[in-house]
Amino acid sequence: MENVLIDVKNLKKYFNTKGGTLHAVDDISFQVKKGETLGLVGESGCGKSTTGRAILRLHEPTSGQVIYKGEDIVKYNNKQMKEMRKKMQIVFQDPYSSLNPRLSVFELIADPLYVNKGVVPKNQIEERVKHTMELVGLEKRLINSYPHELDGGRRQRVGIARALVLNPEFIVLDEPVSALDVSIQSQILNLLDELQEKLGLTYIFVAHNLSVVKHISDRIAVMYLGNIVELTEYNKIFEDPLHPYTQALLSAIPIPKVGIKRERIMLEGDVPSPINPGPGCVFYGRCRNRKDICKEVKPQFEEKKPGHFVACHIVE
């Protein structure tokens, strides 16, 4: 594929916990093209945040490669990585705990500029910060407020502003709009869209709100228990979901209209454990269509239809 910005190959991230080794991200591979948005959805706890962090090397990957513009950044040393971080940013899932409680909104947003000197001349930093605040809809009066004084939505916007202020090439957005009311959510989504158009930004966008994901993404990856189970263009997922988990997921979307009742696929069976998962398909225990082979053999993540990758034995 041409124009690939990030090529993640066989990425794994394991944690050591009391119970044993936890396979948070278990051998995933995907590519993100320049200027596109890859939506990342999946069950809570399936490893989305971990994937995002591992790509930015905030968690050192257990193994695998993250090839950014042809270079494996997993092998970068600190200095190279520092250069790299100007170009890659992340909006954290939890806006509150990711903001230093002792810094004011201004300092929080300006911090990346002070860190990466030269991106913006010193005397323009304030200008830039204010501009960014305006972009994400943070009022000027909040410039000296501290995170604990803000409501959930504004905290989240501070997080977004901080990621945007450096004009990065690539941003991991980990549920960036979950705490926003729909109006502001729309505002932010519009902003992200605009920036992408204007500057050619690339996003990995993690969210649970599927209508949001659909709106913003070019392609969508569905994760389940540390694995990517399906990946394709945004509308194909909705029109023609192949993986049983995706199907269940889509059926659970709440519709903001009263009176409409949809057939919901309830997931049966046990939530599987990420600690020492079995040899077979990760979704085996809860799959409606499971066969014996699913228990023993892990399905390949394959292109079942053009541009439509699925990991499932059942799908032809």
Partner: protein, 296 residues
Amino acid sequence: MAETKAVANGKKNKNKSNSQLMGVWMRLKKNRLAIIGLVILVILILVAIFANIIAPYGYDEQDLQNTFQTPSLKHLFGTDEFGRDIFSRIIYGSRISLQVGVIAVGIAVVVGGFLGAVAGYFSGKVDNVIMRIMDILLSIPQMLLAISIVAALGNSLINLMIAVGVSSIPQYARIVRASVISIKNQEFVESAKATGSSDLRIIFKHVIPNCLAPVIVQATLGIGLAILTAAGLSFIGLGIKPPTPEWGAMLSGGRMYIRNYPHLTLFPGIAIVITIFAFNVLGDGLRDALDPKLKQ
């Protein structure tokens, strides 16, 4: 309208850089106790500067005929074993004692704090090496260190402060490290890393400000301890030379007379208490003022 906005902006520009300090100051100002502490401290400093004007007698003016006088109008705090005016000696003593306390603690806080922060932040090997060095330093008897410092660097007030400071470095290192260990796992540290902040910057900008509280407590109390330690050391021949007055030394020197003439020790003791009090309430206030959560 665009113009007025620009003007407003310009104004803010100027205030901006100071606004944080101003904010801290505003909050500090609201804390009555802290202001009392600050006032006392300012007075102490003024007393130290103008000691020669304030003190009714010279600090070394002996009057062997009038030793051990109890407090009277002539000698507000009485006289000591050489008939020297204790009040004047306390006034002059503020010079030395404040210096000793502040500088010794300063050395320890700066060096210890930094090492502790680095150790706690990096953990692993760095931590192990730094903290083991701290263990070594902690094990070296202060007295031996002091004697050696004098032997190596000569006998002076500065060296006394170095001796006291150096031997309390490990304390601050351990305290800061402990806080850092529990803070560095928080997500905002990770988020700073994500912006490409260097480790040093993370330590100084994000980690240390969040673990100041125990350091402030230890340091404000440490000033008093340093004064007393210095006094102890001056008796093994380090630093302060007689007849230079120093509160700690006055306190220890008077101990032999404690049963007969308690005022010899009482007044320097009170002076030390007041000084530590001032530093403590100011420290408490400062800590509260620095914590935006307690913003009132």
